[in-house]
């Protein structure tokens, strides 16, 4: 039941990304938004939708501690599981939690090589083999295209799908195509892009690239308190 609820509330499938993985093997997805609009919350929802399919999600944070990332999951999950009994929610959480692994890096020590080293530590001992990787807090202007190309190769090598959060700077005017200038040099590596936008008290999620169904709406409204979908616009 809870699985259905999480699936039903998946903002991306509601937006018209129909394939349940959304990204192909080795594919990149981006969530673009200004600071504080809800990039991490959406990333966690993508992870939850991976975990309920009993596929492994590796959450890699370059900004928060493990305990803080865990709080994001607890909150999002509790919000979705609100109408279920505590026991039922706990039981389901215990079932899907093993499909999540949180890894944190300090921004300055993160590189594709370091990541691969840590990843092989996990995979060689059969501890964790990620199906989807969620990278939160990477600074695209500083990382450079080279690192992103290496990450892409890594994603292909280990058949992973990788989601990134992309920080749009408020003081930076976007490029002609609406994308942040600091992201343009790597934008072609991405298969899917969605954008979160705060308008007044509301948050909207817009599909920018890679949508598979044109029948679905182009924009969805999210509840800013829970970051779950509110209604179709």
């Amino acid at each position: 039941m809870l699985k259905k609820e999480i699936k039903y509330r998946n903002p991306l499938t509601n937006l018209g990304y129909e394939h349940e993985d959304i990204l192909p093997n080795g594919g990149f997805g981006a969530i673009l938004a200004h600071a504080g609009v809800g990039k991490t919350a959406l990333l966690v929802q993508i992870a939850l939708n991976t975990m309920i399919r009993e596929e492994s999600a590796l959450h890699l944070s370059l900004q928060d501690a493990v305990s803080k990332v865990d709080v994001w999951y607890q909150e999002l999950f509790q919000n979705i599981a609100g109408k279920f009994s505590d026991a039922e929610a706990q039981e389901y959480w215990d079932k899907i939690q093993p499909y999540r692994f949180i890894m944190t890096f300090r921004v300055e020590s993160f590189s594709a090589a370091n990541f691969e080293e840590r990843l092989t530590d996990l995979m060689q001992q059969n501890i964790f083999k990620p199906h989807t990787v969620l990278i939160d807090g990477l600074k695209f202007d500083e990382a450079g295209r080279g690192q992103m190309v290496l990450l892409k190769e890594l994603a292909k090598k280990y058949s992973m799908r990788v989601w990134f959060t992309v920080h749009e700077h408020r003081n930076e005017a976007p490029a002609e195509n609406g994308l942040p200038v600091s992201f343009l040099h790597v934008a072609d590596l991405f298969d899917v892009m969605v954008q979160l936008e705060a308008k007044g008290d509301e948050v909207y999620i817009n599909s920018l690239k890679g949508k598979s169904s044109s029948a679905k709406p182009h924009t969805l409204r999210l509840d800013p308190a829970t970051m779950l979908i509110k209604s179709v616009k």
């Binding site: 493990v66 865990d70 692994f101 944190t104 300090r106 501890i127």
Partner: protein, 695 residues
């Protein structure tokens, strides 16, 4: 005894194990002239640090029980409780924090915010204890105090601001720059007792200015005068800045950070200045008691020596002067010869000798006023008891006490040891509410229970050393529990006719699982199918059944019992008959309610150099652990996992050997979780074998 309440500071020193708090306390006592020589923890002189009064503490180089002491600095009286660092002893930390007004959070300049610091910080939050931080070991290789300040912000959510910057680090650590006075401080003399104040060296000036601006910026949120001074570009006086930082500290809105090296005698005196300037005096902290006569309505206590007494016994010790009860007086004055009442049992007690403690030496005084910490002699009570004046009925809020998760059977070697052991156990269980003891009625063994392997280990050692009780220990046992997973109906009749009046009782209803309580009993009988006077007996019978599961004999939790029908007999029904009927009904339904075993799951955090990350994860994985995540912290990396306690025995040895002794771990109880089927079968087999061997 001087009595200016504004000049009292009751503080604790809390931190992760091995971050140097006992060494720090030693230096504080030296600079405040309470001791006249410095002895190091695990020191070569064999004397040991002053606060580590227990033999065992001296030997292991760790602080087990908090010892209290007081000292004077700049006309202020500082009561210090030295608290243990290991997570197994957190009840001591909790109790200390309960009675303190402020704390120094000691952090290692290399290790930074480690797992135990997070636990201690959570406890400080729970009791709203304002704190200042001290980043110790700045002389160590890899020291980086600003990385630690960053961790204070990111990991603990503190608004940490530096009050100083270091002049040199690692083996070049020379002193600190005071960002309030904007002066360089150096610590000369054999023990750093001579403070030399100089102008800030040229190469540190820019950094000092930038960090001072950060400090002023953070402090200005708490002071309009300071904001005004900034806007009007007036000179910012030290008084103005300290007042703003103090206000922020008391609200827990700011954490001032001092730094230095206790071991190398660097920058301890400025920390003491910080304690007197920034931490609260007793009247600045709100203490709440509960009024027992008004349904536990909260009552705010006044730090007034003339009001009726309210004092809390927060620690007991059996020392060379007999039983010592450490108390914190919240209101009134506890004087020699006065009569106080123990609110728990209503017993009146006459106060004999009153003392202030300095580790294991005492200093007798006439009275202890509100705001003071001291000790009473020869008073029988338990830890956590509240003492009041006659005629009032207030109790201090009860302290959170976690349940034990591990047990160990102990057998005395001879009769003499048996006597000593029971004396020791009686004392320990009074001193430490997380330490429990009982005799297993089936095996006749004495069982001790506690919060971890080391916790029990220490008590076994203390039994030998302090009470001469030689005991042998069995294997540690995990405190498993049973619970049910589905509803099951019962309809049971207890009938016995063995001559004379018989026994008759029928109970019908159902059991169902609940998650938020251990046991709930609901009576849904209408029309008197079971007469009202037998309902408590029914409840008692079900409750008795919860003590031991019918098959595996672990305590049962999370069961709701609903009774909705039954029958009685005018002659043969009795309390006893209905108790027996309830036990029978429970047994009948229990196995149909699909019982499962739950085991304690521990939150384990391993801190290891990054090169051992892979092997450590492997070790955790082999032990049925679920790795929650791994965190990169530069020189160290910490791995957080949820581990079944049953798999953690002997883990420290394995961890040490796999990491060349470079990794360490902490462990604390997280929650109970159902054991996998294969393990449940193993446990059932073990239980059966134990039963066989006991028989």
């Amino acid at each position: 005894m001087k009595m200016d309440e504004q000049k009292i500071r009751n503080i604790g020193i809390s931190a992760h194990i091995d971050s140097g708090k006992t060494t720090l306390t030693e230096r504080i006592l030296f600079y405040t002239k309470r001791i006249h020589a410095i002895h190091d923890v695990k020191g070569k002189d064999g004397v040991g640090a002053t606060m580590d009064s227990m033999e065992l503490e001296k030997e292991r180089g760790i602080t087990i029980a908090s010892a209290a002491t007081y000292c004077e600095w700049n006309g202020h009286e500082i009561n210090i409780i030295d608290t243990p660092g290991h997570v197994d002893f957190t009840i001591e930390v909790e109790r200390s924090l309960r009675v303190l007004d402020g704390a120094i959070l000691v952090l290692c300049a290399v290790g930074g915010v480690q797992s135990q610091s997070i636990t201690v910080d959570m406890q400080m939050k729970r009791y709203k204890v304002p704190c200042i931080a001290f980043i110790n070991k700045c002389d160590r290789s890899g020291a980086n105090p600003f990385r630690v300040i960053g961790q204070l912000k990111s990991k603990l959510g503190h608004n940490a601001v530096a009050m100083q910057i270091p002049i040199g680090l690692e083996n070049e650590a020379e002193g600190v720059v005071d960002l309030v006075a904007m002066k360089a401080l150096y610590f000369d003399g054999d023990n750093g007792e001579i403070i030399r104040t100089e102008e800030i060296p040229q190469k540190y000036r820019e950094e000092a200015k930038a960090k001072r601006d950060e400090l002023i910026d953070a402090a200005s949120l708490f002071s309009d005068e300071l904001t005004e001074a900034i806007l009007e570009e007036k000179a910012i006086t030290p008084e103005l800045l300290y007042a703003a930082v103090r206000k922020g500290t008391l609200q827990r809105g700011i954490t001032p950070v001092y730094m230095g090296s206790a071991y190398k005698n660097k920058a301890i005196q400025p920390l003491l200045d910080g304690v007197t300037r920034l931490l609260p005096c007793p009247s600045e902290v709100e203490n709440v008691a509960l009024d027992m006569e008004k349904n536990e309505e909260p009552v705010i206590l006044k730090n007034d020596p003339d009001l009726p007494i309210v004092a809390l016994a927060f620690k007991l010790e059996d020392g060379q002067y007999g039983q010592l009860t450490y108390i914190r007086v919240y209101q009134g004055t506890v004087a020699k010869g006065s009569t106080i009442v123990n609110i728990r049992n209503g017993k009146k007690v006459k106060v004999g000798r009153v003392a202030r403690m300095h580790a294991d030496q005492m200093e007798e005084v006439e009275y202890l006023q509100a705001g003071y910490i001291g000790a009473l002699f020869g008073i029988e009570c338990s830890s956590g008891d509240t003492f009041v004046s006659q005629g009032i009925n207030l109790t201090m809020t009860s302290m959170y006490v976690p349940k034990p998760v591990i047990s160990l059977a102990i057998v005395p070697k001879d009769n003499k040891s048996q006597m000593a052991m029971s004396k020791a156990l009686n004392r320990f269980s009074k001193e430490d509410p997380t330490f429990k003891t009982f005799v297993d009625p089936e095996t006749n063994e004495t069982i001790i229970e506690g919060m971890g392997e080391l916790h029990l280990d220490i008590y076994v050692e203390r039994m030998k050393r302090e009470y001469n009780a030689e005991v042998t220990t069995g294997n540690p046992r995990v405190a498993y529990r049973e619970t049910i997973t589905q509803r099951a109906d019962f309809n049971y009749t207890h009938k016995k006719q063995t001559g004379g009046s018989g026994q008759f009782g029928r109970i019908a209803g159902y059991l169902e699982p609940i998650s938020d309580a251990e046991f709930v009993f609901e009576n849904k009988i209408f029309g008197g199918a079971i007469p009202t006077q037998y309902i408590p007996a029914c409840e008692k019978g079900f409750k008795q059944s919860m003590e031991k599961g019918p098959k595996l004999e672990f305590p049962i939790t999370g069961v709701k019992v609903v009774i909705n029908d039954g029958a009685s007999h005018s002659v043969d029904s009795s309390d006893m008959a209905f108790q027996a009927a309830a036990r029978g009904a429970f047994k009948e339904a229990y196995l149909r309610a699909k019982p499962v075993i739950h085991e304690p799951i521990m939150k384990v955090v391993v801190e290891t150099p990054p090169e051992f990350q892979g092997p450590v994860m492997g070790l955790l994985n082999q032990r049925r652990g679920m790795i929650v995540g791994s965190q990169d912290e530069g020189v160290l990396c910490s791995i957080e996992a949820q581990m079944p306690l049953a798999e953690m025995f002997g883990f420290s040895t394995v961890l040490r050997s796999s990491t060349q002794g470079k990794a360490q771990f902490t462990m604390e109880f997280a929650h109970y979780r159902q054991v996998p089927q294969s393990i449940a079968e193993k446990i059932a087999l073990e239980v059966a074998q134990n039963k066989k061997s006991a028989a």
